[in-house]
Amino acid sequence: MNGAAPAPADDLLVRVEDVEKAFHRGEEVIHVLRDLHLTIPRGEFLALMGPSGSGKSTLLNLLGGLDRPTRGRVIVDGRRIDRLSDRQLAAWRARHVGLVFQFYNLLPVLTAERNVELPLLLAPLTRVQRRRHVAAALGIVGLSHRARHYPRQLSGGEQQRVGIARALVTDPSLLLCDEPTGDLDRRSGDGILDLLQALNREHGKTIVMVTHDPHASARATRVVHLDKGRLGTEAPP
C-alpha cells in the first residue's frame, strides 16, 4: 500500500457532489450553498460549524431529505435523494434518518414514550414491537423512568434526550442534529454530547451535528467549516 487509499465507495455513507442551493425571496435570489462537495464515511461524527446564516441548517436539510438542492447530487447510503418527490422523500426520511432539533420539537400533548413512538407509526410494526423499540430507545438515552412524563414535566436536557430517542428508535444509519445543545446549559449540553459520542462509538451511528460551540465540536471526529456557502476543513482534534 502506498499512501492513503481513498475509502471504498460503500464506506461513504454520504456524498454531496457539486451542490448549489439558492432561495428566492421575491425578486431576490439568495445563493446559500455553491460548488459544495462533502463526503462522510460511515461511523463518522462530523461537526458542521460556521457563522449564523452561513447555510449549516440548509446543508443539514439537504442531507436529511427535508429539502432538495437547486443543482448537484446528494447520495445517502447509495441512494440519490436529490430528485425524489416530496412523498418519496417523506417515506425515505422515516426509514433512513433520525432528526434532532435545537428546540426538541416534541409534541406537548404526548408523553415521552408516545413521542418516541411517533416514527414507528410509519413502520409495519405491531403495538408490542413498537413498545419494545420505544423501551430500548428510552433505555439508551437513560430515560426509562420518565417514559410516562409529558414534555412540560421534563427538563430541557431530558426533553432533548427524548428527542434523541425518537431519532434513534427506527435505527437509522444517519443522525442529523441541528444545534442539539444550543438551547441547553453547559451541564445538560455535556450530557447530550456524551450521549451522542456514545451513540457514535458504541452503536456505530454516523452523526452530523451542526454547532457553533467549539466545546461541542471538540467531541466530533471531524470538523468542517462552512463559510459563504463553501466548505473548509479542519484537522480532527
Binding site: 436529511g64 418519496q88 417523506a90 420539537n105 410509519l122
Partner: protein, 398 residues
Amino acid sequence: MGFVSWLSQVGSVTKLSLETIVERKGASAAAVFGIAGVVAVFVAVLSVAEGFRRVMTASGDPSAAIVMRAGSDTEMMSILYGTGVRVIDDAPGIARSASGPLACRELFVVINLPRRSSGMDANVPLRGLGANAFEVHDRVRIVEGRRFTPGCNEVIVGVGASHEFAGLDLGAELKVGRNRWRVVGIFTAGGGLPESEIWTDAVVLQAAYHRGNSFQTVRVKLASPDSFDAFRDALLADPRLTVKAIRLQDYYAEQSRTVQNLITGLGTLVAALMGIGASFGALNTMYSAVATRTREIATLRALGFGSAPIVISILAESLVLASLGGLAGAAVAYGIFDGFRAATLNWQSFSQVAFAFDVTPALLAQGGGCAILIGVIGGLFPALRAARIPVATALRET
C-alpha cells in the same frame, strides 16, 4: 408507498389527533363552545320563522269557510247583497243547528280609537254579525257582562281590544261619529283574531253606516272539513251568485303571507348576520387551534408523515369538535325554546304565533350542517396551509 400503508398512516395519525383532543382541552373547549353558540343562535332565530309558518298552516278551523264576492281578496273589499246572501244559506255542506244553517252574515267598518298606552289613534275593526254568530264563532266566550241584544246600540269587546284601547271597559259608552254604543260584554276567542275586535248586531251597524241590506262576508261552519268542495262548487255553479268560497285556513294563510314572508326574510337575514358573526368567532378559535399546531405539523412531516394524512387527521378532529358543538348548540336551542313551543300550542293566536319558536328536526339538521361547515372550513384551511408549505420552511417558521 403502498395504498395500504398510506391508509394505515391515515389511521394512526387520525387516531393520534382524536386521542389528543382531551389533552388540548383549552383549544378543544373553545372550538366546541364557539360552534355551539353559532348553532344555538342559528336554530333559535330560524325557529321564529319556522314557528310562524307552522302554526299558520295548522291554525284555523278546517271546517270553517268564508264567502266573499268573487274577485275580492280581502273581507274589506268584498260586498254581498241581501238577496244573494239568502241563497248561500241553502248551499250544501253547511252545518245546521236548531236555529238554522250555521252561516253568519257579517260586515265591518274600521273605527279609530286611542291606545291606552300612547294615546295615539289606531284602527279597530267594528264588526256586525247576523244570526247564529255565536254558533259559527264557537270559540267565543263572554267573560264579563253579556252578549249584545239584536237591534240595540250595544257592543261586546274582545279582551285584546279592551286591554289595548281606551274607553272599552264594561259599561262604558263608545262614541263614534254621531253614534253611541254601550259596552255590555267582554269576550275571549281562544286567543284568536276576534279578540282584537268590537262586535255588534249586523242590522244596527248597517243602519249606522248606511249600508242598506248589504254585507261583506258570510262566515259558515261546514258539516265537516270534507264538505268544503261540495259547498264551494255549489256556490260557483249557482247563476244567481258571483261569489267565491275560501277555507278559513287558506284565507288566513293568504292574508298572513306578507307578514310571514317578512318574518321568514327577516329571520333568515338576522340568522345569517348573527351566524356569520358567530361563525367568524368559531372559525377563529378553530383556526388558531390548528395554527398553533403548525410546529407539531412541521415536526410530524419532518419525521416522515405525509401531508395528506395530516390534513385528513386534522379534518377528522375538527369534525368531531364541530359535531360536539353542533349537538350542544342544538340541545341548548331545543331546551330553551321548547317552552315557547308549548305556549304556541296553548294559545294559537296570531299575535303570539308571530313570536312562537318552533325548533323542528329540519332546523336542528340545518344547525348541524352549519356546525359541520364551520368545522370543515376552520380545520381544513389552516391544516392545508400548514401541510402545503415546504417542510424545511415550516420547520424554520416554528
